[in-house]
Amino acid sequence: MRGRAVRVLRPAVGAAVLAGLVAAPWSVDDYTVALLARTLALGLVAVGVALLTGVAGLPTLGQTAPYAAGAYAGAVAGGRLSDVGPVQLLVAAVAGAALAVVALPLVLRARGVVLLMITLAVGELAVVLAGRWTSVTGGTDGLAGIAPIRPLWGLPVLATDRSRYLYTLLVVAVLTGLVLLVLRTRAGLLLRAGRDDEARLRASGHRVPAQVAGVHVAAGAIAGAAGSLLVTAQQYVSPADFGFDTSALLLLGVVVGGTASVGGALVGAVLVVAARDWLFGALPGQAPLVLGVAFVVAAYLLPTARSARPAPRRSTPTARPADAPRPAAMTGVRP
């Protein structure tokens, strides 16, 4: 019953959120709009995180790496190549995807917590690199004063918070929609199947490694595009934007949003990041306390918290194929 309610409510909530986001710049002040634009960029990264973690069952703490690659690539492209937004987006997405490709040998075989730690390491390495490659990244102080973009050739530059926000919103909406569409095809089906039982998927003749590589690269490209949006939104970029706390917050946002739901991840991450940013301004010094309590409460309210299904288990490589995951149906439910 709960499930049915969620299914009915989800599109309604989605529509309400979208309407609210479109109306936002005319109803709140510049501060909130600027904050929302930054947050939306992070929300797009969360879409990639949900794609990996929730849909494909490949938990990640390392999406900040392609995110950073995209941000710096976008910033550099903005300075040297073109001030047209979509061009920068494209460059950034390619950079993100390229970084994902470079990291592939590390992540391809790993699953579960091990993958989580590997991606954490990749993220940390990216931050260290961003901090030391001063000539491109401006070091730990970052790149400031990045020129505003124009949305298309011939259009004026986006000089106000509102216009930058609307551009960000548009791009995020389009890319998220694209992801949702792709997930409705067989790609989505296969990813979910791989999350449940990879060995069985292989035994049905599917090329699982190609699939895993594909989703990593796709998520990398999304994160890269989000990096370019971040640069557009805040016109500044520094390694601090890509620290471990960002990855952790993203992952938590995805969990709050319902793990396997891409739209939910977007909303969840936006909520979590906006709450944090807002709290730092509103409750100086108390933000961690309030945020911490909020996380505890969120964990209790999550629909997944009481569901009977154990977390999707990937059949551990050591387990015998004959011991495929135990029928969840057989683990009794205490409603």
Binding site: P105, V107, M117, V256, P288, L289, V293, T318
Partner: protein
């Protein structure tokens, strides 16, 4: 002194051992609750910090105060661990990610409460005077207190191994990770097992926090640093194997000391690069391990 050829790598290597063992002690609680019992407790660093702050508050340079600090720190961290267990009870069937959300929240909130109580500065920690010096080892000076850890860690590793592998309690914990319901049908409440594990992990973290205070923290960053290092070590060690964790801790120790001494310019990359490569290689190995020998 002058007769001994100055070898700049002796001390780092020795320190790597001591540092690795310290990391093992700090991670011991997490090995138990995450490695063995499969409960992802991101508040582990907080439990350690509780021990650390207790040490800072109680230690006055005498041996008696060390005993008092140990007792108080262990008790406080045990209670905090049990509290985490109670909070986790409602989300017990949910996956690691929900556990992460909850325990991360506890860590954030608890951490800021600790800082509110003890202030933002790193408080001074006073070691018993006998240990607060350095001793000569192979012609080099070395902090005496760090040598203590070699003993503590060895004892802890053996003890943990025995408890987890040989006692009924250890078996119950491992069984409950696999199938809590079947544990229940044996007449043991999985909830009790969970509380027990987290309380025990809290006790270990508290003890580590007190003993480690003269070296790691306490301070506002301690919890995060300890958590991250512990996670690295526990996962590198192969989740739940004491020997594996000990080896991983020693390796991390050497990377952080000898590695840094040998290649200082690569220092910022060393730990994570090594970790990523080791884990990736091992994942590859596991994937092909189904190949029977």
């Amino acid at each position: 002194m002058t007769g001994v050829p100055v070898d700049p790598y002796v001390v780092p290597a020795l320190d790597g051992v001591a540092y690795g063992l310290l990391v093992f002690v700090a991670a011991a609680g997490l090995v138990l609750c995450f490695g063995v019992a499969g409960i992802l407790n991101l508040a582990h660093g907080l439990l350690f910090a509780i021990g650390g702050y207790t040490a800072a508050a109680v230690l006055d340079g005498g041996w008696a105060s060390l005993a008092v600090a140990l007792a108080v720190g262990v008790a406080a961290a045990t209670a905090a661990g049990a509290l985490v267990a109670v909070l986790l009870a409602r989300v017990a069937t949910a996956g690691h990610l929900t556990q992460a959300l909850l325990t991360f929240g506890v860590a954030l909130a608890g951490g800021s409460l600790l800082v509110a109580a003890f202030g933002p500065d790193d408080p001074p920690v006073r070691v018993p005077a006998a240990l607060d010096g350095s001793v000569a080892v192979a012609g080099h000076r070395y902090a005496a207190y760090r040598l203590v850890f070699i003993v503590v860690a060895a004892a802890l590793a053996v003890l943990l191994h025995l408890v987890v592998r040989r006692t009924r309690a250890g078996m119950l914990v491992r069984a409950a990770v696999d199938d809590a319901e079947m544990v229940a049908t044996l007449g043991v409440s999985p909830a009790v097992v969970r509380v027990g594990v987290l309380a025990a992990a809290g006790a270990l973290a508290g003890a580590a926090g007190v003993l480690g205070a003269p070296i790691i923290g306490p301070g506002p960053d301690t919890a995060d640093a300890v958590l991250l290092l512990s996670l690295v070590v526990v996962v590198l060690g192969g989740l739940g194997s004491m020997t594996g964790t000990l080896l991983a801790a020693l390796a991390v120790g050497q990377i952080q000391t000898l590695g840094v001494a040998l290649a200082p310019s690569a220092a910022p990359f060393l730990l994570f690069a090594a970790m990523a490569v080791v884990l990736a290689v091992r994942a590859r190995g596991l994937a092909t391990a189904r190949t029977a020998t």
